[in-house]
């Protein structure tokens, strides 16, 4: 078995690269990861990257401030397309977050130990992506200072939210998701914060890391409860993450608009979410492992596996598109049939063909092993997939609304500069948060990496 899997004949890469390169000990793993935070000086590249991301964040804040002054009219949203960029971006960001939970929770339950080196920053990615997503519905409500009406808070009017609406379900799903993701990330960090506390020589840092580590001392009783809690949380996060994008898809599927009203939406939204999320994981992991010299921890195996997940979820997404097209014909519903025709020949045909290229055709190159192990190739394909998934949400939201039942209520949607500034600004905010995270917290889970080493094995 082993020989078969490790042959390197004819210039072929080994079929399974190790999860962690051999030769590391508990001590060297600890030093290597904590050194990024504690001793490595911030490079010029970091300052430039963070600076650009920070400026983009300021641009977003400026666009939002102007929005609060002027109102939604500065955006491209009109009737009939009342849901423009805000909802497209909301769904896109929430979807990206899903890969983090998939890696940290579902792969934990499936005992995929290779997740241990990418779960930490994937969870951070989830958190920041959900933060970006949360901005959009909040500023889209028109009177954002009243956005708290979405929550069942007692008020002087005596009315309560409308719990029969999927939009209300979304509020609960997304806020639960944000809370659980933050908790999951935090308890994963506690033992590593203890490590940083014990490693740093800086007195102030010692106190700060000590506070956040809650005085963690690695007692066997604590570890036992900790592992139980972590596993249970993974078990809870698994149905949660599937429910979140399901509920997001209900926002559309429960409406009667042609192109929205379909039962395939929940599974196909969830698969699409994981698809785009893994693309973002790779777009982050590939530069991080290169810049911080973490190729021994984030190995070819991780890149390969992520590529395979993208290939599989991409095919599910392709199946979803196929079923949508098939149902357009098979249902005999003339509005559904028109939706399909309109996508192929209507005013938004170009984005639709781009979507098919980005999400279905170009990613098929991932069948080639050489590409699955090439960081540059994967980086580019991941970028293509992220664009494709954004276009998918654009097609679903905008194209469906632009051509509904009555020709008299047809319209076109043109995003304004404020739409673009807000969208690109959230990418800046996401990256700025990632840049800070890399410098402040261990980007790879140190204690989970220790458990992967051969010397961690015990027999009873």
């Amino acid at each position: 078995m082993d020989e078969q899997y490790n042959t390197t004949d004819a210039g072929r890469a080994p079929v399974t690269a190790p999860v962690i390169e051999p030769g590391y000990t508990f001590g060297t793993v600890t030093e290597k990861i904590s050194a990024i935070v504690l001793t490595r000086p911030a490079s010029n590249g970091w300052f430039i990257g963070f600076g650009v991301a920070f400026l983009l964040t300021q641009m977003m804040l400026f666009a939002i401030a102007y929005l609060f002054l002027k109102g939604i009219g500065i955006w491209g949203d009109t009737i009939p397309i009342g849901w423009g960029f805000a909802i497209v971006n909301f769904v896109w960001w929430i979807g990206i977050g899903h890969a983090g939970t998939l890696i940290s929770a579902i792969l934990l339950l499936l005992r995929q130990s290779w997740r241990n080196s990418i779960n930490r920053f994937a969870e951070a990615m989830t958190l920041f992506a959900v933060a970006c997503a949360g901005i959009f519905p909040a500023i889209h409500v028109g009177r954002p200072w009243l956005a708290y009406w979405l929550f069942p808070i007692p008020n002087t009017m005596g009315v309560w939210p409308q719990f029969r609406s999927p939009l209300m379900w979304d509020v609960f799903a997304v806020s639960t998701y944000a809370t659980i993701s933050a908790l999951f990330w935090f308890i994963g960090l506690i033992p590593d914060l203890g490590t940083l506390r014990d490693r740093t020589d800086n007195k102030a840092l010692k106190i700060i890391y000590g506070m956040f580590s809650m005085g963690w001392r690695g007692s066997a009783r604590h570890w036992h409860r900790y592992e139980t809690a972590y596993l249970l949380l993974a078990g809870l996060a698994t149905p949660l993450v599937l429910s979140v994008h399901t509920v997001v898809s209900f926002d559309f599927a429960i409406g009667i608009v042609p192109g929205w009203h379909t039962t395939i939406f929940p599974p196909y939204f969830v698969a699409g979410a994981i698809y785009s999320g893994f693309a973002m994981v790779l777009m982050l992991a590939i530069p991080i492992r290169k810049i911080y010299g973490l190729e021994d921890f984030i190995t070819e195996r991780h890149l390969q596996n992520s590529a395979k997940v993208m290939l599989a979820t991409g095919l599910i997404v392709a199946y979803g598109y196929g079923i949508e097209a098939f149902m357009g014909w098979y249902s005999g519903d003339r509005y559904d049939a028109f939706t399909l025709w309109n996508r192929l020949h209507g005013p938004y045909a170009v984005p639709y063909y781009m979507l098919l290229a980005c999400n279905i055709f170009i990613p098929q190159t991932l069948w080639i092993r050489k590409l699955r192990t090439s960081p540059v190739g994967l980086f580019i394909i991941s970028g293509v997939i992220l664009v494709g998934m954004w276009l998918e949400r654009f097609i679903i939201v905008v194209v469906s609304l632009s051509r509904d039942f009555l020709t008299s209520s047809w319209g076109m949607y043109y995003p304004t500069r404020w739409d673009w500034m807000t969208y690109i600004g959230t990418i800046g905010m996401f990256l700025a948060a990632m840049f800070l995270f890399l410098r402040i917290l261990p980007a790879i889970s140190i204690f989970e990496m220790r458990t992967l080493l051969p010397e961690a094995e015990v027999k009873e």
């Binding site: 000990t25 508990f26 001590g27 600890t30 069942p152 009315v159 309560w160 939210p161 409308q162 719990f163 029969r164 999927p166 379900w169 609960f172 799903a173 639960t176 809370t179 659980i180 908790l183 308890i187 033992p191 490590t195 014990d198 490693r199 000590g210 506070m211 809650m214 005085g215 963690w216 001392r217 690695g218 066997a220 009783r221 604590h222 570890w223 036992h224 409860r225 900790y226 592992e227 139980t228 809690a229 249970l232 949380l233 809870l236 996060a237 149905p239 949660l240 429910s243 509920v247 209900f250 204690f447 989970e448 220790r450 458990t451 010397e455 961690a456 094995e457 015990v458 027999k459 009873e460």
Partner: protein
């Protein structure tokens, strides 16, 4: 109650296997109040030091049940009792529409219970703890493994316990001031 000036006797080991063996001998030798510290979770170690009852699952179960009930009853009370509004002729108590939020609230409460229940049962956050008085204990979060016999143990006596721990071939043995 006056605090014992000595918290316990601590031995340092090189590997998880050495720690788990030492914990086993110490427990079998009749020491009841012991603890082990490691930089990562070691399967079976908690059992070796005599820890068998993990209450976290019960806390999470209760949290989940409370969350589910809260979610459902909140929607029922708000939609059907406190301010019933006729929406498209749907019944006030339209239970299928309430399932999603009930589910989300179950997960939310169960998840919060898991995290805060675990921390509370572990007695965290704890800003001061005597084990940190041993300078070498800083390695417990890196690559060393520690076993402690608490001075509150019935069998504890400074020289006897030290001798016993030294017999387990540790790297070092030190007294832990409290």
């Amino acid at each position: 109650m006056k605090r014992d000036p000595i918290y316990g006797m601590m031995a340092e080991f090189d590997s998880p296997q050495a720690l788990i063996d030492a914990a086993k001998y110490t427990h079998e030798a009749g020491y009841q109040k012991i603890d082990a510290y490691s930089p990562f979770p070691i399967e079976g170690l908690a059992e070796e030091i005599g820890f068998h009852h993990d209450e976290v699952p019960l806390v999470v179960l209760i949290g989940g049940i409370v969350g589910g009930l809260t979610g459902y009853l909140m929607q029922y009370w708000m939609s059907a009792v406190d301010y019933p509004i006729n929406v498209g002729g749907k019944p006030y108590h339209s239970w299928p529409a309430f399932i999603v939020i009930t589910f989300e609230m179950t997960i939310l409460f169960a998840g919060i219970s898991a995290v805060f229940g675990m921390l509370a049962l572990n007695g965290l956050p704890m800003p001061y703890h005597p084990v940190f008085n041993v300078p070498r204990f800083a390695l417990a979060s890196k690559d060393r493994f520690f076993l402690i016999v608490f001075s509150s143990d019935k069998k504890y006596d400074a020289s006897g316990t030290r001798k016993f721990l030294e017999g387990l071939a540790p790297r070092s043995v030190s007294e832990v001031p409290s």
